[in-house]
């Protein structure tokens, strides 16, 4: 029997919600209030919606990139590290380059994208030269990226914040100049339509078109589905895979630089600036089965969970419980999609 349809999704999501509610109830909270907070904090009012949209942008970027690499067969799971590298390069550019005004923002975003693209491409290079598995190397390089950022923000001659007074310098960079910050496209009372989301949506559409309609997309898909046949058809699988990895890294890096410039962060490079956007972006792509357009609603859902979760945590529900709720809901959303594809005989 195949079990399909919205009913299953609804049932499993409901189960996850009930389980989360039980957890909250057992620990003395009110599940109904928690649910209300979750909704209130994500779509409840204009401010909440702005917050959700702010989260959606970097998540979407990472996810769309992950679609590219997964479809090319060069399976990248190091987005978290690439987000960090993007933020690192963005911070370096934003703090070190004397570019005026909004041009600096562009420079920051570009630097983030380029650096993370190159960083991800290293995995392709290692694969090309020595056959190192891409999933494995991108995973390992995530930890290297974390240490690289930690090093940069604890080393005064690199990016550590300047000390003032007798106070200690924290492991973080200086704030980016205001010219490098991502503004909002018009401030309607409370509702901020951030430019990041516009960029992310445009990128998602571009990538969707590129994958479905261009020669590059065709080659990439072919290389992913059957690399031998692709090579036989005159496609340099390594180059195509490398380009997909670079694109996926660049988009993750763009997300990192965007985080740095966005009102979501404190506009400084900090070791935890990536706030798991990379991991979540990867999850989004996997849930959306590597369809760039499908990542848009899924990223929206994750953004809702993040914004709502942050708000929920501010009601006094322990933030860890919020993480648990998020994890349960994620499982609920992936499970039915998969049960559907279960074969008839097992």
């Amino acid at each position: 029997m195949t079990r399909t349809g919205p009913w299953w999704t609804a049932a499993i999501v409901a189960a996850a919600l009930v389980l989360s509610g039980l957890l909250i109830a057992v620990t003395g909270g009110s599940p109904a209030a928690a649910l209300r907070a979750l909704v209130q904090g994500s779509v409840g009012d204009a401010t909440a919606i702005s917050q959700t949209l702010l989260y959606a942008a970097p998540l979407l970027l990472v996810a769309v990139g992950a679609c590219c690499s997964a479809r090319s067969g060069a399976f990248n799971i190091g987005q978290e590290g690439q987000v960090l590298v993007g933020a690192l390069a963005g911070a370096a550019a934003g703090l070190r380059l004397a570019v005026p005004g909004p041009a600096l923002l562009l420079v920051v975003l570009l630097a983030g994208a380029l650096a993370a693209g190159a960083w991800a491409w290293l995995s392709a290079l290692m694969n090309r030269l020595r056959g190192v598995d891409i999933a494995v190397s991108t995973l390992l390089m995530t930890f290297l990226a974390q240490q690289a950022v930690a090093f940069a923000v604890t080393t005064p001659w690199l990016l550590q914040e300047s000390r003032w007074g007798a106070g200690a310098a924290l492991p973080q960079s200086n704030k980016l100049p205001s010219g490098a910050l991502l503004g909002s496209a018009g401030d309607h009372p409370g509702l901020q339509l951030n430019l990041g989301l516009v960029v992310a949506l445009v990128v998602a559409l571009l990538v969707a078109v590129a994958l479905a309609r261009t020669r590059w997309g065709f080659r990439l898909t072919m290389a992913g589905l059957n690399p031998v046949a692709a090579r036989h058809a005159g496609i340099s699988v390594a180059a195509v895979g490398g380009s997909a990895l670079a694109v996926s890294g660049a988009l993750a890096g763009l997300a990192g630089a965007m985080l740095l410039a966005s009102p979501l962060s404190t506009n400084r490079l900090q070791p935890d600036i990536s706030i798991n956007i990379g991991w979540d972006g990867l999850l989004i792509a996997l849930i959306a089965r590597n369809q760039p357009l499908l990542t848009i609603p899924v990223a929206g859902l994750f953004a809702v969970l993040r914004a709502g979760g942050g708000f929920l945590a501010a009601t006094g529900v322990p933030p860890y419980l919020v993480d648990v709720v998020k994890a349960l809901l994620t499982l609920a959303f992936v499970a039915p999609a998969v049960i559907r594809r279960r074969p008839v005989i097992a």
Binding site: A229, R231, H232, I235
Partner: protein
Amino acid sequence: MAPEPALRLRGITKRYGTVVACDDVDLTVARGEIHGLLGENGAGKSTLMRILLGLETRDSGTVERDGRAVTVTGPRQAAALGISMVHQHLSLVDPLTVWENVVLGLSGPVRRAAARAEVGAVAERYGLVIDPDARVGTLSAGERQRVELLKCLRRDPAVLIMDEPTSVLTRAESAELFTVLRRIVAAEHRAVVLISHKLTEITMATDRVTVMRAGRVVLRRATAATTEAELAREMVGREVTPGAAVGVLPHAITRAAPAAPARALRLAGLTVRPGLDDLSLTVHSGEVVGLYGAEGNGQKTLGDVLSGLAIPDAGTVEVAGAPVDLRRPGALPAAGLGIVPEDRHHAGVVLDLSVAENLVMTRLGDVSGRVFIDRRRLRRRARALADEYGITAASLDAPLRSLSGGNQQRVVLARELSGRPRVLIAAQPSRGLDVGAVEDLYARLRGCAGDGIAVLVISTELEEILALATRMAVIFRGRIVDELPTAGADAERLGLLIGGAA
């Protein structure tokens, strides 16, 4: 009283959606006989056998072993019932050793020493020499086949099923295999089911034959009481030119000798270690040359070089007089070389892309601008090719996976010829095809030569070479050991050549 047959299938039916893979099939196999099972691609032979092994569930029907009705839930239980199978797509695990593969799928503790000894003993008994500690991945196709057979025999089966065992074997290897099978049925009183497309094999090696067509049994007969022509007719449901399929009439080809033979393809001193050793060969426009040799003598490597999958350590490939830079991906197709690769699923097609996309994938430039692919042009072109080559598909947008083997082969051929190549390489072109498809394929290949294309047929089957080529080159250990016209080919001498003895 006649003893109960070793195996009796009654009324087996299996549907996949709308496809009826097996339609009320009855099959009886007695001990002491080799039973041929013959049928076109997609006739349902493999499905029937998979049901027998419990790898598929049947919709209806019964299975009897020695007269007792049984239910088979999986290969393990099938083995316990005395049914074993050598699969069409080999079921070996490359990184494991021979003995590990042989004991895979049994139960009970693994006794290394005992298992190795037993492998040795079985190998000895049937003359299937093999090192029990060798990693399977390092073995040649013939050796791997031996391992599969050993694996089955070690289970001491009453019924042994062989699904197209000879498709990757040379003639000598096939002959050796049939000797073993004969011994198994005669001396050990087992039953063998031999699945094959090759009519000669069926007539030579089997005692009784069952022919399937589109999921139904259409003929059941003692082999001695039938002829190749009859079998071929029953199998495809119409008259076929037997020669086309089996090369009985090798020289019936009409060919116009080109006035001034132009060197379309020149391979000079190609060396790939390991694989090819200073191989040189020239093919002229309008000519069909056969490259003949036993499996594992470098044909596969040559195919890889000509597909752009391997880069030679030394030597050059010239197409129409101009050397090709093999390092550049896609240089060979651009230079006008088309290839029908040996392993089509692996190298020739992308099963999950649509039929249309598979038809254009090597020549994307024709259906796209600098950046974008023109969907309309793509479909138009695919439709034209599908019509021209008689490709039957539910829809051109359906994934290629949904096509039968013969149609997949046509897709490859259509695509490779659509670029109007100067040279066409066809590696083991008829492997896995039924006679009808082979007939069509041969006609097309001959047509290519007629159009002035240089055709190189790489094959392990002499009949195929004789049916197609005017000139043949014999390959042994990566070198051309002799070139000769097919007209005067002397079977004995060829046997010596491919064995490296001449």
